[in-house]
Amino acid sequence: MLRDYIEKKRVEKKILIMTHIVIGAPDLETSYQTVKAMVEAGVDIMELQIPFSEPVADGPVILAANQTALDRKVTVGQCIDFAERVAKEFPVPFLFMSYYNIVFKYGVNKFAEMMSAKGLKGAIVPDLPHEEAAQYLAAMKKYHLDPIFLYAPTTSDSRMKEISSHASGFIYCVARKGVTGVDTSFSSDLDEYLQRAHTSTDLPLALGFGVQEKADVDFLKGKADIAIIGTQSLRVLAEKGVAGVKKFIAGMQ
């Protein structure tokens, strides 16, 4: 499972890098090339977002990517095929990221079964709190998949523990209030929050929302196990293409 993978990798690397793409944005072929480039640039884990029409937790950039993919009629079926292909071809763990309705409509149990069959390792569903997740948790468990849950700066210590008790793989720490794609100040507040997170769980910690440059990643060394690069790689993709992304991710290491 993911936790072992992360802990093993962390022996060699001070911090791991997780990146994110929206499947089908701007098109399926570019998505594929982006994954390839990211893996070649040394990424450690990848989030594959299945586009959804109502991505409430995403900011303008990822939101637009979701829309682009849907405008091009990218289906959930195509996303699964895509995930299967990259999971087969590339040696890093892949996670699905999407909103709960995608999972729910597919059938929660069927979705987990499918993930397992296609070689995915887990899923991030930001609008599914553990209180609503009984069926999902059972299915993920059954298929040995990691349900990644989120912490936020507003999450209390006791609630962190509660969340941790349902989570596996790692904890996705949201760096700040707000949606994806907005600046985060990497400051002592963040330190304190990550400290609280560490105390609450023995799972590895990933930090996301606002990681944009090498300095941010460096700041996180020793504080988190994984730096999550989301929006910024989409921006780079749009501006500099796949080659640019590769260089950008490589530069984060």
Binding site: F52, S53, E54, P55, V56, A57, G59, P60, L63, A64, Q67, L70, T75, V76, G77, Y99, Y100, N101, I102, F104, K105, Y106, P126, D127, L128, P129, E131, E132, A134, F149, L150, Y151, A152, P153, T154, T155, S156, R159, I163, V174, K177, G178, V179, V182
Partner: protein
């Protein structure tokens, strides 16, 4: 917390990003406290009496009754509320909670613009900062409401993502909230969304049902046989139905937007058509108009306020239990019903409310003269003049607008 917090049968729940957990829990608490504080309801009622004009009348529609020659038709006059619709009830109630929470800013989504105007009005009255999210399409078709929101001091943000209508405005409001929940309360406009919104909005709107029940008993000594309300998100329907749900002899009928007809797919009928299926979005579980992948569909209604993919989880539950019957009315039927209400009674229902009239008109002739129906006139139609004039192809209106544009071009 109990597993079934905020559930109505299998519908409802609280599907929100973790970042909002503390905020929504805070809201739950302030709402629970208010709900159990009789002083709060009194404060709310007094506010509505002094600022809006509650109790709103229940008007006997004598001419329509004669015309249809069936049951007696009564109309609950939410159109007489300040700002012109039932939306103010909810908004003022939430305003009182915002004061209790000591927040200083409110945000809201709006479709028809009624909820936006109501929220901006409440914000002006209570001295809150205010931002309104409104789909770009709706900004265009509801410009008069945007104008008033701006005059009221609100910032109106046109939402350019998604289908650029109500659901997208909700998403954008949620995005704002996720970033600003310390100072900001999200004033959701209907009985949808994450717990406690469906229950809370219904509670504030129940003032409509409480009054209506009292009024019809006073006027006729009897309960009504049927109560009709249009269903967008479901707040006006839940408001009036609340008064009668326990009286099982009273049939509650919700009328959804049939748009260009169910068969065309261009409608917003979630409960009265087989086109919707259960899903989870925008914080709650209910029937949504979505495709097989779970992507939300585009909806259509002549009434911007009914043009929404989801519906109150409470209504979904009441549909499943059979307590409420759901029907739909097409754009064309609605325009006809509106014209009739205007001509016969001097009432100008909003296009949304005209759906309830259309639904009732379809059935009332088959009822007996001793029977009673109540139609909830959730709002007034003045605001819809651009849409109604277009629907009626009024040539004089067109000329007027062309002349005005000519003036503007010249100056």
């Amino acid at each position: 917390m109990a597993a079934h917090k905020g559930y109505f049968g299998e519908f409802g729940g609280q599907f929100l990003p973790e970042i909002l957990h503390a905020t929504i829990t805070g809201l739950e608490q302030v709402f629970e406290t208010a709900k159990h504080d009789p002083g709060f309801w009194k404060e709310y009622e007094t506010l509505m009496q002094n600022y809006s004009c509650r109790p709103t009348p229940l008007t006997f529609a004598e001419n329509l009754t004669k015309y249809f020659n069936g049951a007696q038709i009564w109309v609950k006059r939410e159109d007489l509320n300040h700002t012109g619709s039932h939306k103010l009830n909810n908004v003022m109630g939430q305003g009182l909670l915002v004061k209790r929470m000591k927040k200083t800013r409110v945000i809201a989504e709006t479709g028809a613009g009624q909820h936006g105007v109501a929220t901006a009005t409440m914000a002006a009255k209570f001295g809150f900062e205010c931002t309104i999210y409104m789909g770009e399409v709706d900004v265009l078709r509801q410009r008069p409401n945007v104008f008033w929101m701006e005059r009221l001091g609100a910032t109106v943000v046109p939402v350019k993502t998604g289908s650029r209508i109500l659901k997208d405005a909700i998403n954008e409001a949620l995005r704002d909230w996720v970033g600003n929940m310390d100072t900001t309360h999200y004033v959701l406009g209907t009985a949808c969304g994450a717990h406690p919104f469906p229950e809370m909005v219904t509670w504030f709107q129940s003032i409509v049902g409480i009054e209506t029940k009292k009024q019809i008993l006073e006027a006729t000594g009897k309960l009504p046989d049927r109560v009709y309300a249009c269903v967008g998100g479901g707040s006006n329907a839940m408001g009036i139905f609340s008064g009668f749900l326990k009286d099982t002899a009273v049939e509650c009928v919700g009328i959804e937007a049939g748009g260009r007809g169910i068969a065309t797919g261009e409608h917003a009928t979630r409960l009265a058509s087989p086109d919707a299926s259960i899903g989870v979005s925008q914080g709650y579980k209910t029937f949504f108009l979505q495709d097989d992948d779970g992507q939300m569909k585009e909806t259509h209604s002549v009434a911007a306020g009914l043009d929404y993919v989801g519906v109150s989880p409470i209504l979904s539950h009441l549909k499943e239990t059979g307590r409420v019957r759901f029907e739909s009315a097409t754009d064309a039927e609605v325009i006809t019903a509106l014209s009739l209400a205007v001509k016969k009674e001097g009432l100008i229902p909003a296009l949304e409310s005209s759906h309830a009239f259309a639904g009732a008109f379809r059935e009332v002739s088959q009822m007996a003269p001793e029977q009673i129906i109540i139609i909830n006139q959730s709002g007034r139609g003045d605001k819809d003049i651009f849409t109604i004039a277009d629907a009626l192809h009024d040539p004089k209106w067109r000329d007027y607008i062309k002349d005005k544009a000519g003036e503007y071009n010249a100056s």
